[in-house]
Amino acid sequence: MALHRGRGFAAINYPIGMNLGGDPSQALVHSNPEGKFTVALSSIDLGQGMKSVTRQIAAETLGVPVEDVYVDTADSDTGPHCMGSFASRGTHRVGNAVIEAAQEARAVMLEAAAEELEVDAGDLVTDGRGSIHVKGAPSRAITTMAACQAAQFRQGRTVSGRGIFLIPLSEVDPDTGEMTPVSCFAHAAMLVEVEVDDETGEVRVLDMQSAYEVGRALNPRLVEQQLVGGAWMGMSHAAWETTEPRYPDRAHGPVDFNSYLMPGPGDIAPHHISVLERPAPDGPFGGKGPGEMCANPVLPAVCNAVYDAVGVRIDELPVTPEKVLRGIRANGGARPRGRL
């Protein structure tokens, strides 16, 4: 028996969102009597950081401290409509909707402040720390809380805003077959090193090196977190996970964690990540969204690395020891490409 090392590469263009019904998301922003803001969304945070990022986006647009913004994703029955948390669309679609809603709310807040200060709303700026003042005259100021309260209790205005982001549905051109389904692409490249045991067919991922281009990383730590976790998920799908039965009878399909293989903390490989930021013209503050792209390049890269190591081309996932062994046998032995 021998262990064979191989390296595999994959690069992807990853479309953000989808071309279905315009893929819209809505956001509603309003101030509360204590001068803080609520952003109402039906977009769900699964742990990917949707709430944190939309909170940052709302605070930045409103010009108030991030602590003054609360994102409420409680109920998709009563909240403004959202297509959902998938297709890596959250940051891009929902973020843009939040910007639009926050801009409208900000305009009302500034009008309310202008009325209290007896100045023109166009001359007002926010300092991002809870205060609104006349440009160039910081002492002519009112807190965002006082402005919102004046709107609420004296002026009878709602400091609120509505936002929607929609990319009109792109139809296929019947003559050319052309369409523009996506406005925004993220990109990734990955190099994986594996070790394949030609006696057992087992594949071990030894090392991953990647570069991900995510637009602007609106929250760099969340981006890194998603890339680390998502890439591991990709590795797991490449080598272990499947809902399909290994043998051709549904009854043999996995029904629990004993039969659905998921690697544990002892099975991870070091992953060296470079994040490239090229702000997207139509993204919220340039953001795209790492999302599913974290996982995608790992699968083809692992398959290519196995090919490099033993000359077996696996075209059905996951890369199980059985498939590797059958491939080696069909080839009459391991054929490391280095020795071809």
Binding site: F257, G264, P265
Partner: protein, 158 residues
């Protein structure tokens, strides 16, 4: 169904509640006692989300009978923070972005606490072994391992 009174210590406080016949500790803690810290992931001992400490040692509460903790000391994630101050492990998880959806976190924290309580300066391999029975869907484990090592380090240099 017969109910049995179970008296035990939960996070330092004396507690008594009735357990159904054959009820497991996870159900007992969540439904009977009202401690929603330990999570139900699989109910069959393969995910670790339900990990609690009994007399300082990690146990899968879904596989343990409630009455087995009578007279014993049970610790759950709900007791980790004291007087409003987070446990060093919780701090390290937060600083290290070691949770995403957070469903595995209560089990991870308790498995890690059991480790650090008996081995304050574990090696990376020892950390991996200690959380080897805990599945995480989101993080890829690396941030969790780093956070546990960081908590140990911080405690040693504090």
């Amino acid at each position: 169904m017969a109910k049995k009174p179970v008296t035990f210590t939960l996070n330092g406080a004396e507690r008594a509640a009735f357990a159904d016949d054959g009820e497991n500790l996870l159900q007992f803690l969540r439904r009977g006692v009202g401690d929603l810290g330990p999570k139900y992931g699989c109910g069959q001992g393969s995910c670790g989300a339900c990990t609690v400490l009994v007399d300082g040692a990690p146990h899968l509460s879904c596989l343990m009978l409630a009455e087995a903790v009578a007279g014993r000391r049970v610790e759950t994630v709900s007791g980790l923070a004291r007087d409003g101050a987070l446990h060093p492990l919780q701090e390290a998880f937060m600083d290290g972005f070691a949770a995403q959806c957070g469903y595995c976190t209560p089990g991870m924290l308790m498995a890690a606490k059991a480790l650090l309580d008996r081995n304050p300066r574990p090696s990376r391999d020892e950390v991996v072994e200690a959380i080897g029975g805990n599945l995480c869907r989101c993080t890829g484990y690396a941030p969790i391992i780093e956070a546990i090592l960081a908590a140990a380090e911080r405690r040693a240099t504090a």
